[in-house]
């Protein structure tokens, strides 16, 4: 931001109150709100999950620092925590047994292409972590899709990639022969899945805290989850699993809670208007259910949010509030 712009912004009538909110405070609060889900993930999937999270965060932070320092010649702003969040979110939506290079490639793609090619923090159109996940899905389909492992016995000292673990069908496995998990397991997170998405309760707690702090608008998660709930109940499903039209199962399983509370609500990539946020949430819900019911991928959260990110500028355009005194069109 140039000096002239700052001066324009500073000229207001007194009194002026300086709020304590700034970017690092918001970002580190989000990191804190994400922590419980990660702890559950590490407890469930062992130390290797923690290793993946750390790799992803390190790669994201390093990429941001290198790009800012050597390519753009900007001041390095890794301390604001936004790259850390991207790294954490990316690791949370990866399966726990992925090879070590997957989170690194993903984090570099997220930060370099999805974030800094657009101008860095506050300028990106798509959520970097989700776009990286979609990229990895295309680039490394085998390690991303095939292996949903769980530990034979819980405990962080077990190795998810080795003999301590067995492969199990993921909760959203659509074809015949899948496994249905009960609500308690889905709530606590005792199911196979990505590192940070399994425990609905930890994610709901973190998300509610962010709503309470005012960092997240309730309209997005509420619209998202309610839409999935209603559509999952009434839409004719093309799935052979017994949970096909079980709305509670659809809401608790997969990445819905993580997506609804932490990814769809990303301030940069979601609409600015209140009506737009509701439209955004409902759109995510519709697309998620459609993809889960009819498309090839088992889970639709990632793609639905990316698609709605794509539509965000158009949503903003058509949901601008009427100015005071301006007539209706």
């Amino acid at each position: 931001m140039s000096n002239a712009q700052e001066k324009v912004l500073l000229v207001t009538t007194s009194p002026h109150i300086r709020g304590p909110e700034d970017i690092p405070r918001v970002m580190w609060t989000v990191v804190g709100a994400l922590a419980p889900a990660g702890l559950v993930g590490v407890y469930l999937f062992g130390y290797y999950a923690l290793f993946i999270v750390i790799l992803s965060v390190l790669a994201a932070v390093l990429t941001e620092a290198v790009i800012q320092k050597y390519l753009l010649g900007q001041p390095v702003s890794v301390k604001d925590g936004s790259a850390v969040i991207t790294g954490i979110l990316l690791a949370y939506i990866l399966p726990p047994g992925v090879p070590w290079y997957i989170p690194i490639v993903g984090a570099i793609f997220a930060i370099a292409i999805v974030k800094h090619a657009f101008g860095g923090l506050g300028n990106n159109i798509w959520n970097p972590a989700l776009a990286a996940r979609a990229f990895l899905q295309v680039a490394y389909p085998a390690p991303i899709n095939s292996d949903w492992r769980v530990l034979k016995q819980g405990g962080i000292f077990s190795n998810i990639t080795g003999v301590d673990s067995i492969t199990q069908a993921s909760p959203l496995f659509k074809e015949f022969g899948g496994k249905t998990y009960n609500y308690t397991d889905l709530l606590t997170g005792n199911v196979p899945g990505c590192i940070g998405e399994t425990s609905a309760i930890a994610l709901i707690l973190g998300g509610l805290y962010l709503i309470y702090r005012g960092y997240v608008d309730w309209r997005v998660p509420a619209g998202y989850i309610a839409t999935v709930f209603i559509l999952a109940k009434f839409l004719p499903a093309k799935i052979e699993a017994p949970w096909a039209n079980d709305p509670i199962y659809h809401v608790l399983a997969g990445g819905l809670m993580l997506g609804a509370f932490f990814m769809a609500t990303d301030m940069v990539t979601s609409p600015l208007t209140k009506k737009g946020l509701l439209v955004f949430g409902i759109g995510c819900g519709v697309l998620t259910t459609l993809i889960r019911f009819y498309a090839a991928y088992p889970e639709g959260v990632c793609y639905s949010i990316l698609l709605m990110n794509t539509a965000t500028p158009i949503i903003d355009r058509y949901t601008q509030p009427r100015l005071l005194g301006q007539g209706k069109k």
């Binding site: 090619a117 657009f118 159109i125 793609y303 698609l307 794509t310 158009i314």
Partner: protein, 216 residues
């Protein structure tokens, strides 16, 4: 009847979302990148393409079934008996389509200028621009093939219309993004077309979510 309606619905869903001409097949990228800076012009372009694609699909369907395919219905076969056995698909398909589409568009433009000046004004320069658009040729080629199945006239036209709508939606989304890009702090080396290509790629990634939604 229901079966036919289901087929048409599947065709539309397929060409609008699953196999979107721009972000899944990467056809028609030149107008997609060239005319997407402003939403108004993107809408105009999208509507012009929809119009031409629908017409082109219908006309090339006749061409394919009555001039190109071998068999009793081949009109060329009336004069040249040899064509009845061989057909002219191999030698004439692409070139005749380009010729027919270009002529058709010019013809439509002339008629429209006289009969409906308002529509002509709103489509403006875009109509002649898309005569040789690869997406239009693409939809004509895809509508007149025997694999995976032979389409009837209605199905081919609906496929053309749906492909145009898919193009329109992609244009609309892209124009919104590019209007925002103009306000962003994009690095110098990425400004303009490079970042638009990055956007197209990321849009294509997002649209991959639809894959497998309809088996068409």
């Amino acid at each position: 009847m229901t079966g036919e309606l289901n087929t048409l619905f599947a065709i539309i869903m397929s060409v609008v979302f699953v196999n979107n001409f721009v972000v899944a097949r990467f056809l028609g990228l030149c107008p997609f990148l060239g005319v997407s800076q402003k939403t108004e012009s993107a809408l105009g372009m999208g509507m012009a393409v929809t119009f031409v694609m629908t017409l082109a699909s219908a006309v090339t369907w006749f061409l394919y079934n009555y001039v190109l395919l071998p068999g009793e219905s081949n009109l060329l076969g009336l004069m040249l008996p040899g064509v009845k056995e061989t057909g002219t698909v191999d030698v004439l398909k692409t070139i005749s389509y380009i010729l027919v589409i270009a002529t058709l568009v010019q013809f439509v433009e002339t008629v429209m200028k006289k009969t409906s000046p308002a529509l002509y004004e709103s489509l403006g320069i875009y109509l002649p621009l898309i005569t040789t658009n690869c997406a239009v040729l693409g939809v004509a080629l895809l509508g007149t093939t025997n694999a995976p199945q032979h389409l009837n006239l209605l199905e081919a036209s609906v496929q053309g219309f749906g492909a145009g709508i898919g193009f329109l939606i992609a244009m609309l989304l892209m124009s919104g993004i590019r209007e925002r890009l103009a306000l962003l702090n994009v690095p110098q080396s990425f400004r303009g077309v490079p970042i638009a290509f990055v956007c197209t790629a990321l849009m294509a990634l997002a649209f991959m979510g639809f894959s497998g939604m309809v088996s068409w």
